[in-house]
């Protein structure tokens, strides 16, 4: 039966993870994601799960690596500087082709930065962060409800494709409270014949590994991995379109920036400007097709980001620079107002980008 509750975004992630069958959480304290660990610390011991506060972000991601290799649904969560430390483990998880679920509730950077909301880890999440040829599935919730639904989706995608799924949220969505509904979910179980369980003399030994000293072998592994990534790109891109049917201008924004942008789109429509919004829900795979199609119809794009402009590069790539792309951005923990976004839309109408 569906259950309606009022929750913080971070708590919604934790509750959804448990509902998705995650019974192992390894983390290290950092603002603004602390509620996730606090929720897990309370709940896990009561449901036969494991909550363990590690000595560092590096240790926690490696505990995730071990637990995932042992065949478990497992997660960790952190915020920007902590994700930098986890980058090593993210690369090993990718190189070993095993699933993991990781949450980044972003704060302003670089360096120690600040603790206010940000989207400045877009590059880190979608372009790498760790070393080597790899990708992660990156999910960008824009509401507390999506914090929950994308968590359940993320665990499924991670197991389906044997890769890391990351929730790229921000301090605002993490901290704000909204009513959400938990549906009765059917949780799909995946076979993990590669898992470390102890062979008990019944099969050859399993080895979870990312070392290939022969370059031919490593290249083959990477080719195989990218074949899988191609499937993800073909099948898993998600986005929301808002008032795009007759739009002459298109705002592109994700996460909390998309909520602000939606208000601006409504205001612009009241002024007679035909503008719509495309909100990428998966940042990788990036919803290229819908943007490519939009570029056939609209006169220009406006990206709204809580960074100096990172996703804008993917918008330009997806649209082949066919139309001009403007940018409304705030950085360091600042959030643009709907009026600032509206001004950006009006500039686009004037041809000022």
């Amino acid at each position: 039966m569906a259950e309606r509750v009022l929750m913080k975004g971070n708590e919604a992630i934790a509750e959804a993870a448990i509902r998705a069958g995650c019974r192992h959480y390894f983390g290290y304290p950092i603002t603004p994601q602390t509620e996730i660990a606090a929720y897990m610390a309370k709940k896990m011991p009561k449901i036969g799960g494991v909550f363990l506060q590690a000595e560092s972000e590096i240790a926690s991601i490696n505990m995730v690596y071990g637990a995932s290799a042992a065949g478990m649904r497992v997660m960790t969560s952190s915020s920007s500087p902590g994700i930098s430390l986890k980058a090593e483990g993210l690369s090993y998880l990718a190189g070993s082709d095993i699933p993991a679920f990781v949450v980044n509730v972003q704060r302003g950077g670089p360096g120690l930065g600040g603790i206010q909301p940000s989207q400045a880890d877009y590059f880190q999440a979608t372009k790498g962060g760790g070393h080597g040829d790899y990708r992660m599935i990156v999910l960008a919730p824009a509401s507390v409800q999506e914090m929950a639904s994308l968590t359940i989706k993320g665990f499924d995608l991670a197991d389906k494709y044997n890769m890391t799924a990351m929730i790229l949220a921000d301090g605002t969505i993490g901290q704000m409270m909204e009513p959400i509904t938990f549906e009765e979910e059917e949780i799909r179980q995946y076979d993990k014949p590669w898992a470390l369980t102890g062979h008990e003399g019944k099969r050859p030994h399993n080895v979870v590994n990312s070392l290939y000293l022969k370059p031919e072998e490593l290249e083959r592994k990477n080719f195989e991995r990218y074949e899988r990534y191609k499937l993800v790109e073909e099948n898993e891109a998600m986005w929301e379109e808002y008032m795009m049917e007759d739009a002459e201008y298109c705002v592109v924004a994700f996460g909390i920036a998309a909520r602000v942008a939606k208000n601006a789109v409504v205001s612009a429509r009241e002024k007679g400007i035909k503008v719509g919004l495309i909100r990428p829900i998966t940042l990788w795979p990036f919803p290229k097709k819908v943007l490519e199609q939009a570029a056939q119809r609209v006169k220009g794009f406006v990206c709204v980001e809580l960074s100096m402009g990172q996703m804008i590069e993917d918008v330009r790539l997806a649209t082949n620079c066919k139309r001009p792309v403007g940018l409304v951005c705030r950085s360091g923990g600042m959030v643009p107002s709907p009026d600032e976004v509206l001004a950006g839309i009006e500039n686009a109408v004037k041809g000022v980008y």
Binding site: H24, I58, G66, A67, A69, G89, Y92, G198, V207, N209
Partner: protein, 251 residues
């Protein structure tokens, strides 16, 4: 003809890649014998380090995972917390365990994770070609201490067993050597006990094995084994540094 001596079953039938005279082969064998004798190979999960023993995941026949440099105790924690009925062990060198992975080592010990750690101390980074390790002796010449380790410049080597033994957490901390038959026999007993402790749920057990690296020490295998006696063991004395269960029994 009766077989009087054979390869342990837990050791794969593969040529090891180690240099001539390297004691890793002996230490691998001792671990494999312990797994065989305790009958735990089928439920063992081993964690290979970064360093000379990186390919241990091929040599041991149990399930294996390759860890990032120094992170093996964290990986072991993740596995053991998920699968408490399996036997989880790491096999790590001095650079891995005592330099880049010191935090993971200390905290796994402090939490008394019910795992077994085989710590091979040969006072040098072998795989990368002989750089100064956290256990390199004062005055010892390496590629990155070409004039000998100057303790005023880069500090003192770390006695891992003594340090870990100050913690409340761990069950069993001991230092052994493998430079002669008698020491090998003692090392065998210690390694077996470190696994037995895990079987009995006693907690964190670490065996520091003082080893040798003839190649990077610039010695013949025989000279290297003698250098263990003359230089390594005086700084790193063999002995049991902590044995909680034995201490309780004595009381």
């Amino acid at each position: 003809m009766a077989v009087v001596f054979e390869k342990p079953k837990s050791l794969a039938d593969l040529p090891l890649h180690y240099c001539p005279g390297c004691p890793h082969g002996i230490i691998h064998r001792l671990v494999a014998e312990a797994l065989d004798e305790l009958g735990i190979e089928g439920k063992a999960i081993g964690i290979a380090p970064v360093g000379c023993a990186v390919m241990a995941y091929d040599y041991f026949t149990c399930d294996m995972i390759e860890s990032a440099h120094g992170r093996a105790p964290a990986v072991a924690t993740g596995i053991k917390r998920c699968r408490p009925d399996n036997i989880v062990f790491t096999y790590q060198g001095d650079g891995d365990l005592a330099s880049i992975g010191m935090a993971e080592t200390v905290h796994a010990a402090a939490r008394n994770e019910n795992i077994t750690i085989i710590f091979v101390n040969n006072a040098i980074y072998g795989m990368t070609g002989g750089q100064m390790a956290p256990t390199t002796l004062p005055g010892q010449v390496t590629q990155t201490s070409p004039y000998g380790r100057d303790v005023n410049h880069c500090g003192w080597p770390i006695r891992v067993s003594e340090m870990l033994a100050t913690l409340e957490g761990p069950e069993y901390i001991t230092r052994v050597a493998v430079n002669n038959v008698k020491n090998v026999m003692n090392a065998k007993k210690a390694i077996k006990k470190a696994f037995q402790n895990q079987v009995e749920g006693k907690g964190f057990s670490l065996v520091e094995v003082v080893s040798a690296c003839p190649t990077n020490w610039g010695m013949t295998p025989e000279q290297a084994l003698k250098w263990v006696d003359s230089d390594m063991l005086p700084y790193y004395p063999m002995g049991v540094y902590k044995d909680r269960s034995a201490a309780k029994e004595e009381k």
